[in-house]
Symmetry: C2
Subunit: 80 residues, 2 copies
Amino acid sequence: MKAKITITLKNGVLDPQGAAIENALASLGFEGADSVRQGKVIEMKLSETDEIAARAKAEEMCKKLLANPVMENYAIEILA
Amino acid sequence: MKAKITITLKNGVLDPQGAAIENALASLGFEGADSVRQGKVIEMKLSETDEIAARAKAEEMCKKLLANPVMENYAIEILA
């Protein structure tokens, strides 16, 4: 199964990359873009054929390696 | 409206970050994770109140700044 894991900074955590994008957009003349935040997306194929098992594995990967739970939230999507 | 822009490397473009994650997962004992690719997700608030206008603006931002169309694909989701 394919897993898509989206990792975003928690609210209140400073996001310098997001701020840089916001400034760059403004300097290119894009007005009205606000609260820009940048995160990561990680896609992978998992050998599990069962959605529940695949989700459990992705969750464990997030906890052990992919996300920093102090600063980051993660969301897991399992695709067929 | 909120826009969520997902930027991923095109197929065939080398992804050293994805490869590093794949190796790290294997060395932590996670088996069966394959074809790991890392991308970016950018979230922002747009002042547009119309979905079509918001999508057009996000598309232009991708073309002019956010994505490198030679190496990257982008997908835009507009959320209420």
